[in-house]
Symmetry: D3
């Protein structure tokens, strides 16, 4: 139902299949979700997206679950149905509880509301918030 067909393993190029295999190994499942099967029409884009996603979502100063919560927040604000579903599932797999999910949604809703209020008010930014005010 997309703008491109989803490629099966048989249809994917060798370069795309190599990425599919890395996805399977990283996640410990044989299932490759639809996003990657759609991206497989462009093996270079598939490779770049997968490599960058792995690097960005790896543990660092922020832990992987927090990164998933941020991903859900952006996806929700951008209205991306697929992304909200896939990253909500990913966050659950990384330990998001029902209570955490509820608080995440409350913060997202609150931010959307005050974003809209500020935009309607066109409030000027306080000088103290700007980086060049730092000592």
């Amino acid at each position: 139902m997309g703008t491109v067909r989803l490629l099966s393993d048989e249809e994917a190029s060798a370069e795309a299949l190599a990425v599919f295999d890395e996805i399977r190994a990283a996640r410990g499942t044989d299932y490759v979700n639809n996003f990657w099967r759609a991206l497989a029409h462009d093996p270079g884009l598939l490779r770049a997206t997968w490599d960058r996603l792995r690097a960005v979502m790896a543990p660092g100063a922020l832990d992987p679950l927090v990164k998933e919560l941020i991903y859900i927040a952006v996806s929700t604000a951008n209205g991306c149905e697929y992304c909200v579903h896939s990253h909500t599932a990913a966050a659950r797999a990384k330990g998001m509880t029902a209570e955490m999910h509820a608080e995440l949604l409350a913060v997202i809703g609150m931010a959307a509301q005050t974003n809209a209020l500020v935009t309607g008010l066109q409030t000027p930014v306080d000088d103290m918030f700007k980086a060049d005010q730092a000592p």
Copy 2:
């Protein structure tokens, strides 16, 4: 420079001043930032927004710093200049390091990119991501 003037303490109603005082007490500073001074034209909206913000951002299953990161993520996706500035400052006040900020931005950028790719591809949602597939 907004669509309404910022109200000084002298111009604010008693109901609005009461909220200003709670903001000062909660933050341990005499400074009341511009958003609240703009909202003060409607003391009822000011009160409802402040009360709800405090409840939503309080410690819970997610800690306040994580909530601020989520707030920045939504504000960035919504393109709210004021909100990005004010919540980046708030996150720093709650302990966000430069490294955490950099990772936050990398996740926001990654999410924005895959949101756009998925939307351009119109990838159908995998059944396994849907809540009613849960056992």
Copy 3:
């Protein structure tokens, strides 16, 4: 400061000047605001935009002030600083009171919040809301 310079009356083409004159006559002021001076680089687009705007914003089943409120709502949701400013000014000129402005902002904020909650929840649309359910 835009991506194109604002054209003065002296710089505008005859076709653009004709639109400027209609704007002046319709508004009873000599002032032509910046949007039209930027659009004047493409007299055809200027003409089409002005003509369509006049038709769409004319009194009809909805009165012009209600149409301005809707315009502000869309401009706020789209994060268009210029448009929020210009249509807030226009709404005031058409009779928007401070109380109406405050209620408008409250509705915009509420809608933004529930839009975000619904998107995060991915709530399926109730059958009864769909037009083809109508008797």
Copy 4:
């Protein structure tokens, strides 16, 4: 099909059921739409959202139908399918005619178009539109 299951009356907590009952009473129908059944996983968020929605949408300086039109405008600009459907149904229930709906859509489309033009042109805001220019 959402990211959380819809809760039936039997599954909802007592606190959530109390909100369901208020919804039924306020609308004169036994039907509780999906948004509230999804929100019911977090009774506190359900309660806060319902209470605030009732306050914001109540008659005031703007009448309830105008508020629904504004709600549709924001929901459309934010691309929220569920919200467009539910608030279009609500507006009809409050008296929106086919002619009013058509004019609403024309204004929403016009605003979206000029929002985009202004953003592409990056037109600077006229001084006269700013609140601090007021006498």
Copy 5:
């Protein structure tokens, strides 16, 4: 399933049917797609939209295929499912190859990413990018 029913030829007004006939003639097919059948509830809006679309998408300084790619880019950024589908189909009809589609998606994704990074960083615009810096 929309907020209005799709009108058949039998249900459309004479004014709407005249537009349907122009669409058929312009495209060399008897099929009139759903967007126009939904718009037909407001023959004036249908006429204005069709006339303007034809003028805007006609060959000019940019060729029609490039215009379709731009249309897809905007529709993707705005998250409009219908529009992404219909303009991807239109672009293919005008000669968009799979390779061009893949590059289009890569640019859209890249732009979405750097848009988000810039917004999170709130980078000030370089003076040299502004039109009034031009000699």
Copy 6:
């Protein structure tokens, strides 16, 4: 004025400076624009963004000017002031004429308008537009 300070050559790390040098060489100018100086706080993100941008914007099935037009379209729809300015300047440097700019803006405005109309109408996607309908 951003959320991070812009780093001068003296403040940038060796890894960041290496990217600055590549930017200078690629563009034949000593000037490094603000976006890169802000990103330089995270040399890894700076490197990944620059490398990917170069790959995506290189000549391919689409020529670099068309890619810049698409970039402007996405940036406009996302409301990114900095990006609209920088990519409009880049497009001019690659040959965008005033006439092409005007047509680009007209298409962006038209797309934004019909995106909004479709979303308000919630028009279902025609089967013939879906990829799996292909023979």
